[in-house]
């Protein structure tokens, strides 16, 4: 019996192996390395299509200087979306619900964009601390606010992913428990609840994809300010 609904997020360990390591290391067998031969299958075709279209869309608003990040951002998207989606399967562990993992990706990548900006074009990068057309009395306050918002970005990036996935998993578990409890007492209500559960699962599939995209998109926006 579950002690608490939050126990599903505790990082489990089996035979001395932390399952978070397995959940991070193994999903990549789903991405077959495509060969240089002119032979393909449906999986490779749809993955290649997705990666190329996604990279194209993501790099469109960026300066040419930011295009070096294409491989990194595409890899990040594949990494996050795969872990998010596989985590929705029953009895799996989702590493992206762990705050430490998300912060481990958010902080270094955000810091990289800031350092690039400060090193290559410090005037433009610092210019983002004050929006154009600010009334003079507001200038000191606004610079403080913008500086805070700059430094809170990695925190928001990591917490956003954690909170969204955690909330989704919790809701699914709560409603699934409700279905089991209601089944012997009120079958009709239980069936209705199961319908809600099904719709919620669809929503969570969407959230898993959207949150991976939002993470990468925000990083590309931070990069856009700094290249």
């Amino acid at each position: 019996m579950m002690v608490s609904f939050f126990d599903q997020f505790a990082s489990p360990s089996y035979l001395g192996i932390p399952l978070i390591a397995i959940a991070i290391a193994l999903p990549w067998v789903l991405y077959p390395t495509s060969s240089s031969r002119w032979i393909n299958n449906r999986l490779i075709t749809i993955q290649g299509w997705f990666i190329n279209r996604f990279t194209n869309q993501l790099m469109l608003p960026l300066n040419v200087g930011g295009h070096k990040w294409a491989l990194l951002l595409a890899s990040l998207m594949i990494f996050l979306i795969t872990i998010n989606m596989l985590g929705l399967l029953p009895y799996t562990f989702t590493p992206t619900t762990q705050l430490s993992l998300n912060m481990g990706f958010a902080v270094p990548l955000w810091l990289a964009t800031v350092i690039i900006g400060m090193r290559n074009q410090p005037t433009v990068a610092l210019g983002h601390l004050l929006p154009e057309g600010t009334p003079i009395p507001l200038i000191p306050v606004l610079i403080i606010i913008e500086t805070i918002s700059l430094f809170i970005r990695p925190l928001a990036l990591g917490v956003r992913l954690t909170a969204n996935l955690t909330a989704g998993h919790l809701l699914i578990q709560l409603i699934a428990t409700a279905v089991f409890v209601l089944m012997p007492m009120m079958p009709t209500v239980a069936i209705l609840t199961a319908t809600v559960l099904f719709l919620l699962t669809l929503l969570e599939v969407a959230v898993a994809m959207i949150q991976a995209y939002v993470f990468v998109l925000l990083l590309s926006l931070y990069l856009q300010e700094n290249v």
Binding site: F9, P18, A25, Y31, L71, S75, F79, F105, T166
Partner: protein, 54 residues
């Protein structure tokens, strides 16, 4: 709430970045450029010997 536990954050950081930087980019690259790029100056494009893959 165990998901907020910083836990073995350094081990998680190192291992996840190891996977992220070693395994995934090779797979992505093979999709983006399935053939090794040849320089424009190359006289003759090298072709690999081909046989039926099975």
């Amino acid at each position: 709430m165990p998901q907020l536990n910083p836990g073995p954050w350094f081990a998680i950081l190192v291992f996840s970045w190891l996977v992220f930087l070693t395994i995934i980019p090779t797979k992505i690259l093979s999709h983006i450029s399935p053939n090794e790029p040849t320089p424009v100056s190359a006289e003759k494009h090298k072709t690999e010997s081909w046989d039926w893959p099975w």
